[in-house]
């Protein structure tokens, strides 16, 4: 896997093709499904991954979330970066080239 620390606020991510990401009514949560499993996401994680659509930059995501959760972008930013790193490390998302 590529070095996961090299994204910045201009990077764009999308859900890796192996995964199916969607809202699951019966769980009242976003889920990420892959061949051998399912991950149920907490609301914040769900909101971030919803925005990993290949179009939004990481910077866009930070701004949108700060509006959504009424928090300062400075507070949101490191958390978003950290979460995206984890997702990238797990292969859930890919950089949009």
């Amino acid at each position: 896997m590529a070095d996961s620390n090299n994204h910045n606020s201009l990077s764009r991510f999308r859900i890796a093709p192996v995964f199916l990401f969607r809202w699951e009514e019966s769980q009242q949560a976003h889920v990420l499904m892959y061949p051998e499993g399912i991950v149920k996401l907490n609301p914040t994680a769900g909101e971030i991954l919803t925005r990993c659509n290949g179009t939004n930059t990481v910077g866009d995501i930070v701004l949108q979330l700060s509006v959504l959760f009424s928090e300062q972008p400075e507070f949101i930013e490191p958390r978003v970066h950290q979460f995206l790193e984890v997702c990238h490390g797990k292969g859930w998302i890919q950089p949009q080239s």
């Binding site: 896997m1 199916l20 019966s26 889920v31 499904m33 892959y34 061949p35 051998e36 399912i38």
Partner: protein, 377 residues
């Protein structure tokens, strides 16, 4: 397959999460390790396309999210593409569990269009001769070709290789082959002894030394390959002294439908004597899951006997596999005898000793000889 708990970080909240459709018991191969029933003639009438669709709808309403099309050989069903398409429309993550025999480039393309997301290809060996011994049919060439077609079409893929004394020494070559094909996951599935595998147990049991050598090679390969390929090494429970967390517990998240519509907590459960599993032709699926006697019998832990009842590990392994407890101890409510705390653990140990004292000879493998159909793919 009696899978040790699938990867999951959510709770089914009392509902099924995984739906396994065994579309047919028929198969063009005759694997000596096959976990399909040995008495197939008893259950012939396969569900129709419309009946399968109803099952998918009903299970989806109940909360199921993952679907597996298996068998037997699911590609023998001409309506496979139609069923996959319906499953995709319903929002399932679609998996095809196949031997590859019966697949063609054209069919793969159509399955892709229908929304198939992932393929698990069953594989016997990196050596054509060994593959022939294990599958009872010459199939190596076809499988390799279809594996490459699957990758060429961009499907993510698991190569599932049941491991036994017959092929365990080939683990390094199997890993190499899998990496060369470019699969994402390699599942080295130590054979679980049900049905045909139980019939052939004396011929299939590897030695502890062979298992340790194989595990060491797996560890090396993981190091080398890094993220390129994930290798699962399913625990050989006869040796580990630990039972598998079978199906994440009875009637917990797994729902299996047999070809004739009989509803099971696990494919193997059909072999439990005295249990009358209801079918979707006669009952509502939700009723079967929630209310039927057979689904409630071993749900939770109130059925447990000692040592499970007061064991600190019962939340992790649910007392192991009910079918294995039945097959080896005669009572499904006993602890799985693979567990070293089970008073019946000696049965497993004796089986190992007996198997290892048996001269291993591939000519003594008993090929699965029911439900065979020829195909000229």
């Amino acid at each position: 397959m009696a899978k040790a708990g699938s990867n999951l970080n959510l709770d089914g909240q009392g509902n099924p999460v995984w739906l396994l459709l065994e579309l047919t018991y028929k198969c063009p191969l005759k694997c000596a390790f096959c976990s399909n029933p040995t008495d197939l003639d008893a259950h012939e009438e396969e569900l129709t396309t419309a009946e399968w669709k109803k099952v998918m709808h009903d299970a989806r309403k109940m909360g199921a999210m993952q679907i597996g099309f298996s068998g037997g050989e699911p590609t023998l069903r001409k309506d496979l593409e139609e069923l996959v398409s319906e499953a995709d429309d319903l929002g399932y993550y679609t998996n095809l569990i196949t031997s590859g025999i019966g697949l063609t480039r054209k069919r793969l393309e159509n399955l892709k269009k229908a929304g198939l997301r992932h393929i698990q290809l069953g594989f016997q060996s990196s050596d054509p001769q060994t593959a022939h011994w294990l599958a009872g049919v010459d199939c190596y060439e076809k499988k390799i070709n279809i594996a490459r077609e699957i990758k060429a079409l961009g499907f993510p893929m698991v190569l599932n290789v049941p491991i036994s004394s017959v092929n365990i020494h080939q683990v390094p070559e199997i890993i190499e082959l899998a990496a060369d094909i470019g699969v994402e996951y390699l599942e080295l599935a130590n054979v679980q002894y049900y049905n045909w595998a139980l019939v052939n147990r004396d011929q299939l049991m590897p030695t502890r030394e062979a298992l340790e050598a194989a595990e060491a090679r797996v560890a090396e390969a993981r190091e080398q390959l890094g993220d390129r390929m994930t290798i699962f090494f399913v625990i050989p429970d006869y040796y580990e002294g630990r039972p598998k967390a079978c199906m994440n517990g009875w009637g917990s998240i797994h729902l299996t439908i047999a070809p004739d519509g009989v509803v099971l907590p696990c494919s193997q459960a059909r072999s439990l004597p005295g249990l009358d599993f209801p079918g979707v032709r006669d009952h509502d699926l939700s009723w079967i899951w929630h209310e039927s006697e057979s689904f409630n019998l071993y749900r939770g832990d109130s059925w447990m006997k000692e040592p499970c009842r007061s064991c600190s590990e019962k939340e992790q392994d649910f007392g192991g596999c009910r079918c294995q407890a039945m097959l080896l101890t005669g009572d499904a409510a006993n602890a799985d005898p693979a567990c070293s705390k089970s008073p019946h653990h000696h049965i497993v140990q004796e089986a190992v000793t007996r198997a290892l004292a048996t001269k291993q000879d591939h000519k003594k493998l008993i090929a699965r000889d029911v439900g065979w159909v020829s195909t000229e793919v």
